[in-house]
Amino acid sequence: MTRQKLQISSLVLVGIITFGLPVVLRSPTYLHILILLYLYAYLTTSWNLVGGFAGVLPLGHAAFVGIGAYTSTILYLQYGISPWLGMIVGGVLAAIVGIIIGLPTFKMRGAYFALATIAFGEGIRVMVENIDYLGPFNLNGPRGLQIPPLNVGLTNLMFTNKEPYYYIILVMLVAVLALTYSISRSKLGYYLNAGGEEPEAAMSLGVNVARCKLIAMAMSSFLTALAGTFYAQFTLFIHPKSVISLDLSFEIAFIALIGGRGSIAGPVLGALLLRPVGDFSRIYFGATLPGLHLIIFGTVLVLVMIFQPRGLQEPLTRVYHKLLDRLIPVPAGTE
């Protein structure tokens, strides 16, 4: 068996396992944890299009989650429009906002860009908190919007049990991973990479760095907003502090950074590691030692950055390749 065949078949195996998991794992709590895990993996992979490929550090992505969540929820509650459609509308809206934000901010470097995205994220949150009615749309300010669990079914993206949610987010995750993979192999991917590392050199070669970054931003915000809708339909309650919070923006960015931004597996790995750490330390310690789970989270952040600043995907990829070497030794003279 060739190396490539082994890699593909292991990927297929992982696919079978993840798709088959709900059949074996019946506990709704574990499904819930996995659903949130996939959601975060999805969010960080979408973030990665800008934060990893374009080489900047956006810390306001929660705003797009919020746009997606609020758009589909308002359209559903007030006009009865299916969340699937609302999702697309939310995505388009988020993409537009993303471009508006990107236009002036991409001219800035590093730290300024990060601060600007923070300001945008918080600014949008403050506005949503203060506004009850935007024209005919009811935002309900800080009280948030609740979606009553009636009319369950596929058209309304609402289900009584967890399995359908599991599959939807899994499909979304696979799709976004595939998209990321194809972009990384495309011209856009190379332009972004060049533009991130050495913008002046890239521009001198005729690459329109600014335009590429905006395209990446638009895609990233669109995809992120889709997750917002999913989240709204999953928890059935949204309010500014839960969907447009700075904490969420930070968490998305940090998971990607710890996993290894710029790579495809990085964000997923980061989510796989950090989400369970956060969840389980809250479950086991939250009651007795309040705040301990955050201390653990912070410590993990610090340690990983000190020892593996490029993210954990680097050492893990090396281990993976070593494993492959062991299984399929490369014969001398070939490959």
Partner: protein, 295 residues
Amino acid sequence: MIYIVEDLINGILMGSIYGLTALGLTIIFGVLKVINFAHGSLLMVGMYVAYWAVSLSGLHPYLTLLLVVPVMYLFGYYLQDIVIKPIFKAERDVREPITVIIVTTGVWYILDNLTLLIFGPQYRSIQDNPLRGKMLEIGEMMISVPKLWGFFAAIITAGSVYWFLQKTRTGRAIRATSLDRDAASLMGIKQYRVYNIAFGIGTATAGIAGVTLVPFYNVFPTVGVLFDIKGFIIVVLGGLGSIGGAILGGIIIGVIESVGPQFMTATWTEAIVYGLFLLVLFAKPSGLFGVKYEW
């Protein structure tokens, strides 16, 4: 008319204190080129140190500066040395180490929650201190005395730091490193020692800011978060790395917060502050007094 003047004065006083809290941030950014997300937590630590110093000794709050300043300086110095320096070394060739931002965020989470764990979530404030609740009455206007003290503390601290950077050898070394760290180290300046000192100074100013706040503010584990975001806004407004800019930026924010509510609800002034922030970022990213950085 008199109302506007009264509000203006309150805004300037409170704003100078905001500027003081942001001073450390701008020093650290100017020299190390990193955004220190743990700055709010350092402020909180400074407040707790000041609080315990006053509660246990019964001294006038400003006298505790004798304890707070050295303690905070050393805390910052070693924080940089132990936690942040390794990352600098690892990312030697990157122009701006983004990973440091993450580390400082980790430090923020750790500090805030460790404090919660150890000291509990209660809101503390010092009951009997000579500054509490004192007001100066000039005609119909009332001016808060502890804020007045804070104003002077801010000006004196800013002035001292500025003098230090301009006139002393270490200060010049710091400035050289902030302009071009490679050239500076070629000239024999120990780059990492400079970083440590700068971080120590930044943290010490956070400690001073904590002392000014303790007489009239509550002390609790997450108090730093409130000043954190404001600090960034102030620093960008004033110009990253500019000391006068930090104080002035703080005053601008303070005035908006004080005068604004007379014309709208307090909740909208928050939005205005963010709007102003974005405006400055786009129009003049280097801020009002910042030097245009080529990075």
